[in-house]
């Protein structure tokens, strides 16, 4: 018999490190049965790691997991399923060319023949659909379903396996607002039936709307657990971002010149047919830093890819008044570099650097066709090496050894190699994404100073970062992106993190009003439109 008031989930002192990175530090939480518990925090705060431990994907370095008042070992997902835990991953684990029914029974079949399993699942699905508003056509192929319906299949999978505890990792990240609303109704129903739900998200609106209790995570630590009714979006935003000392960057006020980069009505559709940029317009002037704030996945990466020349788009982009091609010939990275756009990409490991190349080879990556680096038909490697040595010294890359492969440098030093390469080209425009992601504190300061120095030389800088601190300390103007659109522009002196946080969640109204109402108002017409386009 289980103790009737025992928590459904209790984590005691969970710690987990990946190499030098402490993803979870001594985390303890209690989630009572029949409640929805939110876990909120910025990207990389350690939320997903924690839940992966609960689902048996990772083994915690220390700590205990208690389920329904019993200490439980969860070495693999099988054990998690047996303990009544179901997980809806951010990236669905569905077989695309299987039917809904087949996906639901996979791994939970009744016997060696499918017939009976399918028949039973069909009945069960019908019952679940009625009970929780989870209707999905059981014979439809997953690849023909909308994302929202695919998510329902994931929930059905968990319920079919008799899960009492449901973990949802960023469930609305890929949903339209209408779908998200439907999801919340489902979660409501599940709670009413006594299921325990853990909702991982970085969206304040969701926490306020649906959870009973909420825990805030920051940098691998659990900073607070509060009752949702007793908190406010503003307080949560503060807890989430933390009041750590800002890394101050010494900079004089910007003296912006003419607009160097002018973007109008930029639209981009990705390879899955999803519109990622929905009419972006912005301009960056010489001698200023325009910071793009926003939660990851709202189109910032695509904006950089389009401007950097490796994703097609429609709309107009003018560089120094001259329109540039956005698709077809003359729109590749080489053409962009030729017209004075340099780009420090968001992911230096898969884009900015060839990890297997030496540092010196990487110092010309993207500029390797420059006639300067050729001597006859061969590349002038001696010159490249010489320049590399010089750049590495000046940008304080450690160790300053151009012969070392890029993968052998620390994150900060890798970033300095990229930065040296792009800045030394003396571009008119610098696109820079997540300049200090995975970079140690010492290097952050250096990188920030270099960016400001470049601004003061009269260059136009477009900065994309999910770190609000960074946006604040570097930007001369801040634009907030949400769902492929610019939600608004603010001057750093005239706004605060709370206001930006709300903009990042898609709220454009007056923050002193009811933020939830404001969100719903702002999304209503869009939701209706998308719902219409789905059916």
């Amino acid at each position: 018999m289980t103790d009737p008031i025992a928590p459904a989930i209790e984590l005691k002192g969970i710690s987990k490190a990946f190499g030098p990175v402490q993803a979870n530090k001594d985390i303890s939480i209690r989630v009572m049965p029949g409640t929805i518990h939110g876990i909120i925090g910025e990207n990389g705060a350690g939320k997903s790691t924690l839940m992966s431990i609960l689902y048996g994907f990772y083994k915690a370095d220390a700590g205990e997991v208690w389920i329904n008042g019993r200490k439980t070992e969860i070495p693999d997902s099988q054990a998690a399923i047996a303990a009544g835990i179901g997980m809806v991953f951010q990236h669905f684990k569905l077989v695309q060319n299987f039917t809904v029914l087949e996906n639901v029974i996979l791994g939970a079949e009744d016997g060696p023949m499918l017939g009976t399993s399918l028949a039973r699942a069909r009945g069960e699905l019908r019952a679940l659909a009625e009970e929780y508003e989870l209707s999905v056509d059981p014979d439809q192929l997953i690849e023909n379903l909308s994302v929202g319906h695919q998510q329902r299949v994931e929930i059905l999978k968990a319920l079919y396996r008799k899960a009492d505890i449901l973990i949802l990792d960023e469930p609305t990240g890929v949903l339209t607002p209408a779908e998200a609303d439907h999801l919340f109704r489902i979660l409501d129903n599940l709670r009413a039936e006594g299921k325990t739900i853990v909702l991982i998200t970085h969206k304040l609106r969701e926490i306020m709307e649906i959870t009973d209790t909420v825990s805030v995570m920051r940098r691998g630590e659990m900073t607070a657990t509060v009752k949702t009714a007793e908190t406010s979006p503003e307080q949560l935003a503060e807890l989430m971002v933390g009041r750590k000392v800002l890394l101050r960057v010494d900079k004089v006020p910007a003296r912006p010149g003419d607009a160097v980069l002018r973007v109008e009505n930029l639209r981009h559709v990705d390879s899955h047919g999803v519109e990622r940029l929905k009419g972006i317009s912005l301009e960056v002037r010489a001698g200023e830093i325009l910071g793009i704030a926003g939660v990851a996945g709202n189109g910032q990466s695509e904006l950089l890819e389009v401007l950097g020349g490796y994703a097609d788009a429609t709309g107009t982009v003018r560089v120094n008044g001259k329109e540039i091609a956005l698709s077809g010939p003359g729109s590749d990275g080489g053409a962009r570099r030729a017209c004075g756009i340099a780009h420090v990409p968001e992911d230096r490991q898969t884009e900015g650097l060839i990890m297997a190349y030496t540092a010196w080879e990487n110092t010309v990556f993207g500029y390797h066709r420059d006639p300067r680096y050729q001597s006859g038909v061969l590349m002038n490697n001696a010159l490249i090496r010489e320049e590399a040595q010089d750049k590495m010294t000046r940008y304080d890359v450690r160790p300053p050894n151009p012969q070392l492969a890029a993968r052998n440098f620390s994150g900060g030093n890798q970033q300095k190699i990229v930065l040296a390469r792009e800045i030394e080209r003396d571009p008119d425009i610098l696109l820079i994404g997540q300049p200090t992601r995975g970079v140690d504190i010492g290097a952050i300061e250096f990188i920030h100073q270099e960016i400001v120095r470049l601004r003061d030389k009269g260059k136009a800088i477009l900065l994309v970062s999910v770190e609000l601190d960074e946006i604040f300390s570097l930007s001369d103007r801040i634009a907030v992106m949400f769902d492929g659109r610019i939600m608004g522009e603010r001057l750093p002196d005239e706004t605060d993190q709370t206001e930006l946080g709300l903009l990042m969640a898609g709220v454009t109204g007056d923050p002193s009003g009811d933020p939830i109402k404001a969100v719903e108002a702002s999304l209503e017409d869009k939701a209706a439109r998308e719902a219409a386009s789905h059916d």
């Binding site: 990275g333 884009e351 900015g352 060839i354 390797h368 590349m379």
Partner: protein, 364 residues
């Protein structure tokens, strides 16, 4: 930091893999009741202790250098070209056509033109799979396999129905004109009192192969094209960031690969047989896979691996002549080399990495 030093990955892993292949080969020889040591002796005797043995060894080496480079250049672009065999066959067709139909005044001009023809024919045969991979995503491994068989059918048709001289029985072209005869090692190095390389097929093409190695090194490590090929091979996403077109690199790398395979035909068709026969390639296109894997796609490694396989080929022929061990022993060794260096490399690498990590931890 890397789990183990670069030299260990570049030298130790292939060496241990080859050692494993050698041990297994020795066991195979033991199993069929022969002595591995005697066999090795016989092979060394036959392949390396006489100049005519060297003449054969280097003849085979020439083939394997070309096909090894062919596979390697594709490897650098992260493609697996199994079509070297077919590309070499079609390259041979190019050689035969120019040798038969252009009246050359001197062998050197013939060699130049034939080289161009071999490379162009081989490259064109690789072009269709390359285009289909680049533009339509058809897996190049499967298409190049299919093109090997199609090449065989094309060659068969051409030899039987078009180029076979009147009245001849075997599917082969007429013998090439004497002006296209390439100097053999015997003609180049033998003197009246020192009959070197007697009767062996090694010829001037060997030097072309060595040149190809040097050219390959320059191409891959010293030109911007090589820079782009390697970058694309390491990371397609980074290549796109840098403005390197995946379509262009895929096609260009395969053209070079096919061209190198085609050039192999110079050695067999122009240098040795002096006519185009049906089975001129003798599986050298496939041995190129083993050579490239073992040589780690580096021309020095490829040269050494080609030499080893040249030795094995000639030594294997000697074995077949003097013992009960058939030539197919070499195929087994080739298979084991491919298996250990190409597919089971993690089996060797993982324990090695653990050893290096442990030593490093103990030292600091």
């Amino acid at each position: 930091m890397d789990k183990m030093p670069a030299w260990a990955d570049a030298v130790l892993v292939p060496l241990i893999s080859i050692l494993l292949a050698a041990i297994l080969s020795a066991l195979v020889i033991l199993a069929i009741g022969e002595s591995p040591l005697d066999a090795l002796n016989l092979m060394v005797e036959g392949a390396l202790m006489r100049s005519s043995g060297w003449g054969y060894t280097l003849y085979y080496t020439t083939n394997f250098i070309f096909t090894g480079l062919c596979v390697a250049v594709a490897f650098h672009a992260k493609m697996f070209n199994i079509g070297g065999e077919g590309q070499a066959m079609i390259g041979g067709l190019g050689v035969a056509l120019v040798c038969l139909f252009i009246p050359f005044p001197h062998w050197s001009i013939a060699l130049l033109v034939a080289t161009a023809a071999a490379a162009v024919f081989g490259a064109l045969w690789a072009l269709i799979p390359a285009y289909l991979q680049a533009k339509r995503g058809s897996h190049i491994v499967i298409t190049t396999i299919m093109f090997n068989f199609i090449a065989a059918a094309v060659l068969n048709y051409v030899l039987v129905n078009v180029l076979r001289p009147q009245g001849a029985m075997d599917p082969a072209t007429a013998t090439f004109p004497a002006a296209t005869h390439l100097p053999t090692f015997q003609e180049m190095f033998a003197t009246a009192d020192n009959p070197l390389f007697r009767g062996s097929p090694a010829n001037v093409t060997f030097f072309l192969a060595v040149l190809a190695c040097v050219g390959f090194w320059y191409l891959i490590w010293r030109t911007k094209l090589g820079y782009e090929i390697r970058a694309f091979g390491h990371s397609e996403s980074a290549a796109k960031y840098a403005g390197i077109s995946p379509v262009r690199i895929t096609i260009v790398a395969m053209l070079i690969s096919g061209g190198l395979a085609g050039m192999m035909a110079l050695n067999t068709t122009m240098g040795e047989a002096e006519r185009l026969v049906m089975n001129a390639t003798e599986g050298a296109g496939f041995i190129g896979i083993a050579v490239a894997l073992m040589g780690r796609s580096h021309p020095v490694g490829i040269f050494l691996a080609a030499l080893l396989f040249g030795f094995l080929y000639q030594g294997g022929a000697e074995l077949a002549l003097w013992t009960n061990i058939p030539r197919e022993l070499i195929t087994v060794i080739q298979a084991l080399v491919i298996l250990f260096t190409g597919a089971l490399d993690n089996m060797v690498r993982m324990p090695l990495e653990r050893i290096f990590l442990a030593t490093r931890r103990r030292n600091g």
